[in-house]
Amino acid sequence: MIFLRLFYEFFKTGLFAIGGGLATFPFLSDMADKTGWFTHSQLMDMIAVSESTPGPLGVNTATYVGFVTAGIPGAVVATLGLITPSIIIILIIAGFLKAFRHNVYVDSAFKCLRPTSTGLIAASGLSVAASAFFRTDAGESLSPGALRPESVILAIFLLIVTRFIPQTKKLHPIVWIAFSAVVGVVFTFGGVPMF
């Protein structure tokens, strides 16, 4: 029964992939070897599409793999399989936190966890910045020569409108995402001619 197997495989992925969407990839690659549902090059394509569509990366990839394997029902089953362990584990932790949040040890642990979490978020922002502000085809190193001036100009503009101008500061972040997509297309930020 393909659906049971799909659910089981993605349940396992959801249970053991710790640390977000990227952590699911080794499991998917293993799945390709073991089940023959899809090839590795198909998986690379699916990951690329998942990165460039709305929604969390790990969820998109699970949906896509499920779809390729068994159509729309497969997409639903794979996604449910992926999220079921998270739901169970987080509900248990949330219950635990409600009871122990004001415990002096738990409270002190969170005082150290908050700057840690913020540091991890900053690091992820910087790693996105590496690919957003530097030409990757100019080699691995982030030399000043590989800096994309058009990206820097867009970034400065966005920084000003999202932080310093009261009228535009209040706009929803999706406005700036859409704006940046248009700018990216008009000025061919990806370095690929449109026609």
């Binding site: 959801g14 640390g19 979490s117 900053a122 920084l159 700036w176 940046s180 990806g190």
Partner: protein
């Protein structure tokens, strides 16, 4: 109850549809929709959920949705919010996968995402500035932030390790502060 649950579902569906890339890209959208508009959680709670999401299994976006849903409406809330956040993925991927197999090779998509990446950087920067106030409250916090940000960027260290070490450090601090209570008071 039904009304609250449907509000949870659609709010998280909205967050899901506006998230591009990994879980962190979701943070600015969550801050706007869940913290500022709905006031279902504070910035501090969001950082807590992200920290827990780092070291528990599963996709961080999903874990965060479960947390906030649970906080608002118990177990049904946790489930409904999570289903909401994955709903757009199901719809969009199912539609796209049926039509285009090499969607990500289109010049339109490549150029648009090169622009979006710049925007995501700035939005994450703004999100970190907002979180900073609640997260980095003293010198120790600043040191932890710098060690984690630099360590995670320069070396291939799993975030799980940072989160576990920070939790242990926090627990040890209670012991140390217990012993040095007098010193602590005079230092302040």
């Amino acid at each position: 109850m039904l009304k609250e649950l449907s509000e949870l579902f659609w709010t998280f569906a909205k967050v899901g549809v506006m998230t591009f890339g990994g879980g962190y890209a979701m943070l600015p959208i969550l801050q706007r929709e869940v913290v500022e508009n709905k006031q279902w959680a504070t910035d501090e709670e969001l950082t807590d959920y992200f920290a827990i999401g780092q070291c528990t299994p599963g996709v961080i976006a999903v874990n965060t949705a479960t947390f906030i849903g649970q906080k608002k409406q118990g177990i049904p809330g946790g489930i409904v919010a999570t289903l909401g956040v994955v709903f757009p993925s199901l719809v969009i991927i199912s539609i796209l996968a049926g039509f285009i197999s090499s969607f990500s090779h289109l010049p339109l998509v490549i150029n648009a995402f090169a622009g979006i990446r710049v925007c995501v950087c700035i939005l994450i920067f703004n999100a970190v500035v907002k979180l900073w106030k609640g997260a980095v409250t003293n010198k120790l916090g600043l040191i932890i932030f710098l060690v984690v940000a630099l360590g995670s960027m320069l070396f291939d260290i799993s975030p799980v390790l940072f989160v576990i070490l920070a939790a242990i450090l926090g627990i040890l601090l209670v012991q140390i502060q217990g012993k040095n209570n007098g010193k602590e008071a005079s230092a302040k």
